[in-house]
């Protein structure tokens, strides 16, 4: 190991050495705020320290002090993380807007995990499955080994204007793996009279996967291509549904490129909530059902978007909404993020099964989410556990309720 091979964590050394090691990131129950557990990986592990944020920060400290070598096995432990950010929330949480302890803000845990993954990637220690995905992104502009031209296959020849104020960023998962969902999103956009375009064939993978894996150079390339495409379309606003794409473009692009984006990045639930508030759309049709909302980590904890999806759901007549016991910043991760679904699919579903059981406990029929990864993984967990709970996207409800 050299200074060069550890350059990403070296940059965050102050954060790593700021951990006071109390271990609330390991397990934390707080009756007062319904806080139940913290780390999905720790809970689904043999519970050695290395499966918790505290243990991992300790290890990074030792690596920086040259007391520990980086190995393939160690790398695997660091890839075994959904990067859900719950460790960050508990480390920083006072749960009161009036109590702000600056000392709680020294560590950005997810940033540290991703920085170390960047070092691991550069040392050639990424997970083999992740490298396969990266090859596909480089060859096809998507991680699904699908031809780039098929990104809009589901559109069945529909044409879009060259330029528009709003650009809808499709992402990879929905066009290639969930075409029915993306058709619903388009249908809802049409019902709402939204003026938008898409930027195919210039749209490429957002780079979320590359970033979570640690391939920073590829993310930079992808980011530049997408930004160029958005600029070319004259975009003032980028509308995004996929939670991973949203976080990557809104938060990570400016960080990685070191420059402000020349357009606004808005999650579709934020945009539709605004239209609802302005009275431009109405959710008129009744839906008689009992649902809960699962906060995707990338738009919840990472982006603080908690109310817009809830306000939309709650505006649907007759629809009964019940919160998960663990909700908003306490929400339990679905288990799919951070490259987990591809590298550790079984563990991913194990974690998602916790969420299904939680939904059964509160007596809902459906879990509503706003992230294709959450939807896929939670659905897999219902099949695995034989649950009758259905997992749907918020756009299914919106389509049904809009005139």
């Amino acid at each position: 190991m050299t200074e060069e091979t550890l350059k990403h964590i070296k940059e965050l050394e102050d954060m790593i050495r700021s951990c006071s090691g109390i271990g609330d990131c390991r397990e934390a129950y707080m009756y007062s705020v319904n806080r139940i557990q913290v780390c999905p990986i720790y809970e689904h592990s043999p519970k050695f320290e290395v499966y918790s944020a505290r243990g991992r920060l300790r290890i990074l400290m030792s690596i920086l002090d040259r007391k520990l070598d980086v190995s393939k096995k160690l790398a695997e432990i660091f890839y075994l993380c959904t990067t859900c950010g719950n460790c960050h929330t508990i480390c920083h949480g006072t749960y009161s807007d009036n109590i702000d302890l600056f000392v709680h803000n020294f560590i950005d845990h997810v940033k540290v995990w991703e920085a170390f993954r960047a070092d691991l990637f550069e040392m050639g220690l990424a997970m083999p499955r992740h490298l396969e995905l990266m090859n596909s992104i480089k060859e096809n502009n998507n991680p699904y080994f699908e031809p780039h031209k098929d990104r809009i296959k589901w559109l069945e020849g529909r044409k879009f204007p060259e330029t528009a104020e709003n650009v809808f960023f499709m992402g990879c998962t929905e066009p290639y793996r969930m075409p029915e969902l993306i058709k619903k999103i388009i249908k809802v956009f049409d019902k709402c009279g939204i003026d938008y375009t898409i930027v195919h064939p210039n749209e490429v993978c957002c780079g979320s996967i590359a970033l979570r894996i640690g391939d920073i150079n590829t993310v930079k390339e992808l980011a530049k291509k997408n930004i160029e495409a958005f600029k070319k379309a004259g975009a003032k606003r980028i509308l995004i549904h996929c939670a991973g794409c949203f976080k990557t473009i809104k938060q990570n692009y400016p960080e990685i490129l070191g420059e402000e984006l020349p357009f606004e990045v808005v999650h579709v639930t934020e945009y539709l909530e605004q239209l609802l508030k302005e009275g431009k759309i109405k959710l008129n049709k009744k839906i008689e059902d009992k649902v809960t909302y699962h906060d995707p980590c990338h738009i919840g904890r990472a982006s603080n978007i908690y109310d817009p999806p809830r306000n939309l759901i709650k505006s649907i007549p007759d629809l009964e909404f019940i919160e998960f016991e663990r909700n908003r910043e306490n929400a339990w991760c679905c288990g799919a993020g951070g490259g987990m679904k591809s590298a550790f699919p079984e563990k991913s579903v194990e974690i998602a099964t916790d969420r299904i059981k939680e939904a059964e406990k509160i007596g809902v029929n459906k879990i509503v989410s706003a992230c294709p990864f959450c939807e896929m993984n939670l659905s897999d967990a219902t099949k695995e556990s034989g649950s009758n709970i259905k997992v749907i996207d918020i756009f299914e409800l919106l389509d049904e309720s809009l005139d």
Binding site: R17, S18, K47, M61, D100
Partner: protein, 498 residues
Amino acid sequence: MNLYAQLEDIVGPDYVSNEDFVLESYAHGITGVGTKRPAIVVIPESAQEISEILKVANKKKMNVIPRGGGAGLLEGVLPLVSGGIVIDMTRMNNVIDFNENTMTVTVECGITWGKLNSFLMERGYYTGTLGPGSGMSAVVGGGLSHNTVGGGGAAKYGAVTRHCVGLEVVLPNGQILTLGSSASKYIKEPFSKWGLGPDYLGLFLGDQGIHGVKTKATLLVYPRPKYRAYKTFSIRRRGDKLWPEIILELRKKGDLGLYDVFYFPELIMQALQGLLIVKDIVVFKSIKERDPKGRAVMFYTMEAETQEALEANQKIVDEIFLNKKGITAFGPEIEDGNIAKWHYEMNGHWQVYHGFWGVMGEKSVPQTGEHHIPVHQYPDLMKKFEKWESENSELLNKVRAMSGVGSSLLCDHTTVEVDSGLTIYNIPEYHEINDKLWRSYLNMIVESGGMPYMAGMRFSRALIDVSAFSDEFYSFMKTIKDTLDPNHILSKGKYYFE
């Protein structure tokens, strides 16, 4: 059969590891100063498994370090010699029995105070004292080993050890022993520790884990009263003198239902509010807005079964505070600066104290000297702290460390816990001096009459370093240690038992 294979046989292959990175994660204290790596880590799930592990360790004369939440601040769970076995207790984290007839709960000792109290509060009960300030991650076994306070409730319920009426321990030779009323085969429910002879259970309370591995504990539980009151006061001056005056007046009024009483001295409030250390950083946002000079703060939380009782007690307590010159009260809500409410209603105890330690910015961590004293000694103790600081100013400056007193809280009777210590920078080049300062600081506390409450390795050795014990007492301690642990395998090094 080698050690690894033997342990694998006992706990199963998933729960034993000798990977270098696994071992390294068990070899760090809060300060970043690494200690020795253990040879192996095991995570058992029963007393029987621990018994087998200890038998193996005894045969091989290997050091064994029991570890709970690893949240202690005085290096109580760190290996002091290379090559030991760490027993990580965190898989043993279940509630075994909740008995409303005896108002007790029996738990595995690896359960966190947070998990246990979430279970109890759903049923209208709590453990009274909610463990330490690290109650979300600290476990019951560690709390009983340390005589824990700080997580809430200490003024009313004292340290957690007061409420332990039953214990199952595994002795270093592997024998599983039940203590308390359940030691009698005719007593079916644990309910008291007295009546069957001397307090042998007490041998394992506050023992810093040197006598045995705690596997199961029975604690008294209490109904959580329906009515609560909270008030926070700003102290214009003389806080150090007013603190003992107020506490003694409160205690002399008898039982007022006080759940907690806290004091944050001016220095810590100013530091926290960024007036001395970092400009323009909001800490207790609400207090800062109302009291920008960073005055000392005291607060209480109080409980009662009826509104009338609550109001009557509150009147007495408020009079004691507000009759003192220079004391004013903040408003009733958290946004008014009433952090007492935050502490009680939102487990503030569990979230705030670790934050204090980072008061000097990134990489600053604590080297604590938390201890107990009778409250009337508080002003004198402050002078001794100042003297130590001045004598050690050169070294402190060299590593940019700061010494001082954070919060103090009322515990049993007139005892207060004083959160004093050092805040140091976790920078490798500073480690040697930081270590030297810490030793000196702890020695000073012991020589000043402070009583460690969580001793760990650090304070237990400070007691010996400054010859706090008489020869007779230390010899008595050693006789008990030798009897229970003839090969000194358990927690080697504490109190210099090598």
